[in-house]
């Protein structure tokens, strides 16, 4: 997948026919996991991001949205405003070329019927239709975690992306939610989601390392979420312990697209302060708060030196 380009004309048509004047419930009408979004029904258990004539140097970008009860406003924001902002800003700011976007829906593998949903990688309006097909199960439980590690597992083992395979360039993976990262994903849980059971359980660290082979991995902590507001220190520590500065603290979810684009810009080499300042008004504040600690991904040339190691 990955032909075509996202256009304002297509977006206007989609908006008029699908979202304008409609409630969230009227947009997200799925009452269960759709086959097209079922990871176990992906062809060869692989989602592909391939170069095309329209997108000759594609870059894979995965946005995995928490679809449990407290987070429904995020998919709604994305299907109303966030999606065009994401594409437009990538097209105009050009942190990467030819974006191929995949959405995932993330729930809780302990409690939910559809803890992982995966769209195709798309470069045009087809991604909007798949986004609105997400099943907003509204599940989750009282365990203070959602299964944010399922996108890591799927991205690490079940995606094939030309940016990495052809150009050794990592894609981007953003999980978005307000709960903590679960410490373990069991083989049984993976088997239920994927239809194929691995030989062993995996720790969150292992799955992060797995996803990081092909992707720059980030987590966006939604500070307006009820779970974050109830347990801010625990949620923040859960993420910064495992992912460090790539835990992006998002104070205003309506700026999610801008924060994602900014994180990509900084990872590709832009200065964090300059990137934040490039946005206007309140967006600059939100972006600065989320991405202020980010740095360019390590590219030390033929040999990378580490200051701490040289001192020791």
């Amino acid at each position: 997948m990955g032909s075509g380009r996202f256009s304002a004309t297509d977006w206007d048509r989609f908006t008029a026919s699908t979202t304008a004047g409609r409630t969230r419930e009227a947009i997200f009408t799925a009452s269960g996991l759709k086959d097209a979004l079922d990871p176990a029904k992906a062809r060869n258990l692989i989602r592909e991001s391939r170069d095309s004539a329209d997108n000759p140097e594609s870059n894979a970008i995965i946005v995995a949205l928490d679809v449990t009860g407290s987070m429904h406003k995020i998919p709604e924001y994305m299907v109303r405003e966030g999606l065009p902002a994401l594409f437009d800003n990538i097209y105009t700011r050009k942190p990467v070329t030819d974006p191929h976007v995949m959405f995932m829906g993330v729930g809780d593998v302990v409690y939910d019927r559809a803890p992982l949903q995966v769209s195709q990688f798309e470069a045009d309006i087809r991604i909007a239709a798949q986004l609105k097909d997400l099943y907003l199960e509204g599940g989750g439980g009282g365990n203070m975690t959602e299964s944010y590690t399922l996108p890591w597992y799927f991205a690490g083992l079940h995606t094939a992306i030309d940016c990495f395979e052809k150009r050794a360039k990592r894609g981007y993976l953003f999980t978005v939610g307000d709960e903590m990262v679960p410490p373990v994903l069991t083989a049984e849980q993976i088997g239920r989601v994927m239809g194929v059971r691995p030989q062993a359980d995996f720790s969150a660290q292992q799955l992060l390392d797995l996803a990081s082979r092909q992707y720059h991995v980030f987590h966006v902590v939604v500070q307006q979420g009820s779970n974050y507001r109830a347990h801010p220190d625990q949620v923040r520590a859960s993420w910064t312990d495992i992912i460090g500065q790539r835990a992006l603290m998002l104070s205003d979810y309506t700026k999610l697209a801008e924060v994602i684009v900014s994180a990509i810009e900084i990872t590709e080499g832009a200065n964090a302060a300059d990137v934040a300042a490039s946005w206007g008004g309140s967006t600059a504040l939100v972006v600065r708060g989320a991405t202020g600690g980010l740095q360019k991904a390590g590219t030390g040339g033929a040999v990378r030196r580490f200051l701490d190691g040289l001192r020791s």
Partner: protein, 343 residues
């Protein structure tokens, strides 16, 4: 010119090895004139060959002026002579592969890393005679370390005749080798990680097809290269080659510490690369790669080499059934030419 009669022979000379065409600096002019008469397009020659001749002459002139002339097959440095049959550049300088030695010439800005390698290799010890008997043939032995050109550091390692650098083998074999042979390479590397990570408390950090050598006839694997980055377990990282930096597990990247999962990740990557699929996404669909092996190579690395090594025989059994020796029918002279001794 008697050694380079055909266009293909001339085009096969890398610009970086211009000495092979001219022999000595004094011969640059005469050899070039003779070749130009034959290959200049105005004389019925070929444009591509002539362009390559020009590039070779320019490089030869540069090396001659810089005092960097290397007689084909013989390195004279630091008052010593080293015979070699294959030369390759690496991230810290140039390496020379002979029948019984491997010499790394490390450029001045990386001399500290050369000293690091010397110290680590010299410190490779063994718990007992049994461990020595098993591991010593699989480890580098430093024959000499000395200064080369000002600031350069030269490390000369013992090298058994007949072994082949894995990256050279992959190039020779068209980019991949059969899964059964990848399996024994992984077995040996996991065993090496157990010794180095668990017993010696050192993380190698430079394992790669370019640093690992194999003996096709005996299935021994020798990580002779890449010791420049070796670091005590849990100590801060000092330096990494680009490949390791690219493959660094996220958790190690966060801590910037040397942990066993780095070497284990590098070993999995070697396995995927040896099967021609660095990303690993096509392995599970490859009919020539057993599913159990594909799953292992694609799965997240663990943090304990001993635990990984204990589980590994199950992957082998699931992949190939009972163990049997499968000879890899390739020799050093197949890969490097007739000058290479097959041991």
């Amino acid at each position: 010119m008697h050694n380079f009669e055909t266009a293909d022979e001339i085009l096969a000379i890398p610009v970086s090895e211009a000495e092979r065409l001219f022999g000595t600096p004094e011969q640059i002019g005469p050899v070039f004139r003779e070749a130009a008469l034959r290959w200049h397009p105005d004389h019925g020659g070929r444009q591509d060959v002539f362009a390559h001749l020009l590039a070779l002459r320019a490089e030869a002139d540069r090396k001659s002026a810089a005092g960097a002339w290397v007689v084909p097959g013989r390195l004279e440095i630091g008052g010593r002579r080293i015979r070699f049959f294959h030369r390759f550049t690496f991230e810290l300088g140039t390496a020379y592969l002979g029948n019984n030695v491997l010499a790394y010439v490390v450029e001045p800005e990386f001399a500290d890393l050369a000293k690091r390698a010397e110290a680590v290799i010299k410190g490779l010890n063994f718990a007992d005679a049994a461990m020595r008997a098993e591991m010593a043939p699989r480890l580098p032995r430093l024959l000499a370390a000395f200064d080369g050109q000002p600031g350069q550091r030269v490390l000369v390692l013992e090298k058994p005749a007949g072994i082949i650098r894995l990256s050279d083998l992959l190039t020779h074999e068209g980019g991949r080798i059969p899964a059964r042979h990848v399996a024994w390479i992984i077995s040996e590397l996991l065993n090496f990680a157990c010794y180095l990570n668990a017993y010696r408390g050192i993380i190698h950090l430079g394992l790669a097809p370019e640093t690992v050598f194999i003996a096709p006839a005996t299935h021994q694997v020798l990580p002779l290269g890449g010791w420049f980055y070796a670091t005590r377990r849990d100590a801060y990282l000092a330096a990494l080659p680009e490949r390791t930096d690219r493959l660094l597990p996220m958790t190690a990247r966060q801590a910037e510490c040397a942990v066993p999962s780095i070497d284990l990740e590098l070993i999995r990557a070697i396995g995927r690369e040896a099967l021609g699929d660095a990303a690993g996404t096509r392995l599970r669909l490859d009919p020539d790669v057993p599913t159990a092996l594909a799953d292992w190579l694609r799965s997240p690395s663990g943090h304990d080499p001993v635990a990984e090594y204990r589980l590994w025989p199950g992957t082998i059994l699931d992949s190939f059934g009972a163990r049997r020796f499968a000879e890899l029918l390739v020799t050093a002279s197949d890969v490097y030419g007739k000058e290479a001794d097959n041991g």
